[in-house]
């Protein structure tokens, strides 16, 4: 928190300032919050919640009739989360606050302190540690969810069921879809947003570091709860959780709802912190028109998270109420409506799609300037494009419901807004194309991934036009076409950009550079097999194969087998990355000299030491030029500390 040496004066009992601050007693390790305590807290919380739920509901008719006590399970999950957060230490300060204690201040010399191994497993206020925690967490979530995808493709090798029972198949589909959709919302904002935003805007801290840490520590709880749904029978609703089915589903549905709701909470607090930081913690001279485009994308993404995720919280909460206290919000025979869930879910769900797309655009444009060695083409247009995408995304959700029979009069309007959104999205391509003009383009690994992302997103975006037109959507809706479409936009664009970001920023974060040759192999295999997996799926969908089925027409078997084999090869390609990552990070000897700025970037994040010190910069930097002034002969982007001699004075808070 604090970074100055002038700690606030300690106060005596009477409240008179004066006297040196009393040193805080160091607690023994087994009393200090840690991961072990978090697990103990979670287990105790679960047991307690389950007991309370049983005590409340054991006499209820629906509990006795079905033997499923959803009350106990939901309370168990919620108390377990509470216990988990208490054990990791997230509740200490909120509790101390009740008694008026000020946050502990940092000791002298904290600036030079390096994070220890233990701090990576604790609730920490260092945004760079949180970024690394997120990075590792996201990779774990991604690979686990990816394994489920392998299982799905194995089942679809044959047109009849041969490997998984129908119920198991739906569990696997649901786990894969939900895990990817909810966890990957933070796949870039979590690691790179948290790590890089303060570095890029020249701040020494985040605005709300406790919320930031909280946003990470909710994700393991959410992940474990979602996985644990399998133990109680999984959930049959896929990631969309459509209502009457979700109300009648077994106990696994509770896991889905609680986990998704928790993840929405994590999105809200994480996005909240990013917004407050970007608005208020920019260094002097970091005007809105000098803000790196990646930070803009994080800002818009965070805005979408903060405004859309509350609706998901409300939706999952309502669904849980329908399942436990027997309200009838989604039950048409008691005055509810299944449309209510569809509306609420997609009102979150469509902004979510752009929560997943925008960070990819941000990384793509950010990296493109560095490797093209040119200024960003049409900076203001690019920003307008991102803000436009973000704004429009709140007005298109009903295109998921074209065939639902809801509001048929609204369809032309939604068709218009949906098609209009391709204008701001097209701007991203305008900017990329302008930036590539007469570039000095180096095809290093990160830029390969960026070009791959642009290639894939083009296909994803064009296929999206088919989904926005009502007559063509009638064929594609609910089929593998939709599934291929969003895998192109999310996996093809977001995750390609994510890997590009890893190859690009890992040297900054760790001082180690991933093996570039393996990186190229990783890229080319991933790119080829990704396209060979998902391109045929467009055809499969148009030819009549709905999503989430385990049976399909025999005529589609050869295409499906091709897809499955390609999907396995994607898995192999990912193993190359895992090997490269593990080898570089854990097996190779520490490089004698950390890799400084291997890409020759002008960015502010490269102007501090590698890896950055605890408070990023010795002093708040003064920004004097844009990060993209390649070839203009501009001065370096910033000076660390106050204004250097000869520089016109800059004023704080400029915009």
């Amino acid at each position: 928190m604090a970074m100055d040496t002038t700690a606030p004066p300690a106060v005596d009992k009477a409240g008179n300032p004066g006297g040196p601050p009393a040193p805080r007693a160091e607690r023994p390790w087994w009393l200090a919050p840690n991961l072990l305590l978090a697990f103990v807290g979670a287990a105790a919380g679960y047991a307690l919640g389950h007991m309370v739920g049983n005590w409340i509901a054991h006499t209820y008719q629906q509990v006795q009739g079905e033997g499923d006590n959803n009350h106990a399970l939901v309370l168990g999950y919620l108390f377990a989360t509470f216990g988990w957060l208490a054990g990791i230490g997230a509740l200490n300060y909120p509790f101390q606050k009740l008694f008026g204690y000020a946050p502990p201040t940092e000791a002298e010399g904290a600036h030079e302190r390096k994070p220890t191994l233990r701090s990576y497993f604790s609730y920490t206020l260092d945004h760079k540690v949180v970024g690394v925690q997120y990075l590792v967490g996201m990779l774990v979530y991604f690979f686990v969810a990816g394994l489920f995808a392998m299982a799905i493709r194995s089942e679809l090798l044959s047109p009849t069921r041969h490997l998984l029972a129908p119920g198991t198949y739906l569990e696997v589909v649901g786990e894969h879809g939900t895990m990817m959709m909810m966890m990957m919302t933070s796949v870039i904002l979590g690691p790179f947003g948290n790590y890089l935003v303060p570095l890029m805007i020249g701040s020494r801290r985040m605005a709300y570091p406790r919320l930031e840490a909280l946003s990470f520590w909710i994700t393991p709880a959410s992940f474990i709860i979602l996985l644990s749904g399998i133990i109680v029978g999984g959930f049959p609703t896929g990631w969309t959780g459509y209502a009457p089915l979700s109300i009648e589903a077994g106990q696994g549905e509770d896991a889905y709802l609680v986990a998704f709701g928790l993840m929405a909470l994590s999105m809200i607090v994480g996005g909240f912190n990013i917004i407050c930081t970007v608005i208020n913690y920019r260094a002097p001279g970091m005007t809105w028109s000098r803000l790196p485009i990646f930070v803009w994308s994080m800002l818009v993404t965070a805005m979408l998270m903060v405004l859309a995720a509350p609706v998901l919280v409300a939706a999952t909460y309502m669904s849980l109420l329908d399942r436990t206290v027997q309200t009838a919000l989604f039950d048409a025979q008691h005055g509810g409506s299944s449309y209510l869930w569809e509306n609420l879910f997609w009102f979150f769900g469509h902004p979510e799609v752009y929560i997943l797309a925008l960070p990819g655009f941000g990384i793509a444009l950010e990296l493109l300037t560095v490797f093209a060695r040119k200024p960003l083409f049409g900076y203001r247009t690019a920003v307008a494009g991102m803000v436009g995408v973000g704004t429009l995304s709140f007005f298109v959700w009903q295109h998921h419901l074209f065939d639902s029979g809801m509001n048929p009069d609204m369809r032309p309007v939604v068709m218009l807004t949906t098609e209009l959104i391709s204008v701001p999205t097209g701007i991203i391509y305008l900017v990329a194309i302008g930036t590539l003009w007469r570039a000095r383009l180096r095809l290093a690994v990160p830029i390969l991934f960026v070009l791959g992302a642009l290639f894939n997103f083009l296909i994803g975006g064009i296929s999206g036009v088919f989904l926005s037109d009502v007559p063509t959507d009638t064929v594609a809706h609910g089929s593998f076409f939709v599934m291929a479409h969003f895998h192109y936009t999310i996996m093809g664009s977001l995750l390609f950009a994510f890997f590009g970001g890893i190859y690009y920023w890992l040297p900054k974060m760790t001082g180690r550079q991933l093996d570039q040759r393996l990186g190229k192999i990783h890229f080319w295999t991933l790119f080829i097999f990704f396209n060979s997996t998902f391109l045929p799926l467009f055809a499969i969908g148009e030819l009549g194969m709905p999503r989430r089925v385990f049976e399909y027409e025999k005529a589609l078997q050869s295409l499906n087998d091709w897809v499955s084999i390609s999907a396995y090869l994607i898995g192999l390609s990912m193993l190359i990355f895992v090997y490269n990552f593990v080898k570089t990070m854990f097996i190779d000897p520490r490089p004698t000299e950390p890799v400084g700025n291997p890409w020759g970037s002008r960015g502010l994040e490269w102007m501090t030491s590698t890896p950055p010190v605890a408070y990023n910069f010795a002093h708040v930097p003064t920004v004097v030029s844009s990060p993209y002034e390649y070839g203009t002969g501009a001065r370096p982007m910033a000076y660390i500390g106050g204004e250097p001699p000869g520089v016109p004075p800059q004023h704080e808070g400029v915009s």
Partner: protein, 322 residues
């Protein structure tokens, strides 16, 4: 596009020359691609031509596919050109790469881009709306009160001149009800060729989606909702019917095959079916737009759409068949 001094490109072409080369390649690729997509691929695009709705959808697929060609071609040609012409060996040390021309934007290019994309998408919107309007919803589920309707439609089944087929989704079966034939309910869908059919889709439990793949009909089956779609089948043959919305355990197996038959065969079939199920019909709940199970074991009856008392209107005369 503004800088004339080529600091980088070894074959030193001017901006204009680069633009010309890219432009020519783009036009050539686009024209070839558009012709191929529209004329060669187009007639074979899904969902085929088995009904009027399917034909509309196929036509839209063709048009959108054709429009997509120049967009894709522009990006591919441009990026391909950039990669071959403006690339520096990736082994070049960072500080020897040098910078590209400091081009920060180009007002005309940006304005033209925005104008072209906006005009394109607005045209697509107009196209889509016209297609929806002139084709009675183009086979999509259009809700309880459809605004795009064919002639002869009446929300009251008794007055409707269309053949009404009520599609009832339930876990994990489709059943079909023919209100104009005494509320007959069967497990097999049979419709006559050449007659506009109104599919009234509803559900008894969770959300399903009625997808008659080659007829180009897709409409969600919601509990408590009557979702109407229209289509005229014109080819005699079978219909592939699937459920397109996840509805639980056996969603993947909620498949059936319907039949499109000649009007004469339809008459025969319906007479036979009525005879077969005659004794069962009285046990069915009275025909209604929607069926909401009530706690007393019966069904909620909103008191609409009484069964027509006179003789059924029957399919159109055989002369209506193309």
């Amino acid at each position: 596009m503004t800088t004339e001094a080529p600091r980088s490109a070894p074959p030193d072409r001017t901006d204009r020359q680069h633009m010309m080369r890219i432009g020519i390649m783009w036009v050539v690729v686009s024209v070839i691609g558009m012709v191929l997509v529209y004329f060669v691929w187009g007639p074979h695009m899904p969902p085929g031509t088995d009904s009027d709705a399917a034909r509309v959808q196929q036509f839209d697929n063709r048009v959108l596919g054709t429009v997509a060609v120049p967009v894709i071609a522009f990006v591919w040609v441009y990026v391909g050109y950039a990669l071959t012409n403006w690339r520096v060996k990736s082994s070049t040390p960072v500080d020897e790469v040098g910078d590209g021309p400091p081009l920060k934007g180009h007002r005309g290019f940006q304005a033209a881009w925005l104008a072209i994309t906006t005009v394109t998408v607005v045209s697509l919107f107009i196209f889509g709306t016209v297609e929806l309007d002139t084709n009675a919803g183009a086979g999509t589920g259009s809700g309880q009160v459809p605004i795009f309707t064919p002639t002869g439609y009446d929300s009251n089944v008794a007055q409707s001149k269309l053949l009404v087929v009520q599609v009832i989704g339930q876990q994990w079966r489709w059943t079909f009800r023919y209100p104009q034939y005494g509320g007959l309910e069967t497990a097999q869908m049979v419709v006559p060729a050449g007659q506009e059919v109104q599919y009234s889709v509803t559900s008894l439990d969770v959300i399903h989606s009625f997808w008659a793949v080659n007829l180009g009909v897709k409409a969600d089956a919601n509990p408590g909702v009557n979702n109407v779609a229209f289509a005229t089948a014109d080819k005699i043959g079978s219909v592939n019917i699937r459920c397109a919305e996840l509805c639980g355990l056996w969603h993947g197996a909620m498949v059936t095959t319907g039949q499109v038959v000649s009007p004469a065969d339809f008459k025969t079939w319906v007479t036979n079916a009525q005879a077969t199920y005659q004794q069962l019909i009285p046990f069915l709940p009275p025909y209604a737009d929607i069926y909401l199970p009530q706690s007393d074991g019966g069904y909620y009856d909103p008191g609409q759409d009484p069964l027509p008392s006179g003789p059924p209107p029957g399919p159109a005369s055989p002369s209506a068949i193309p």
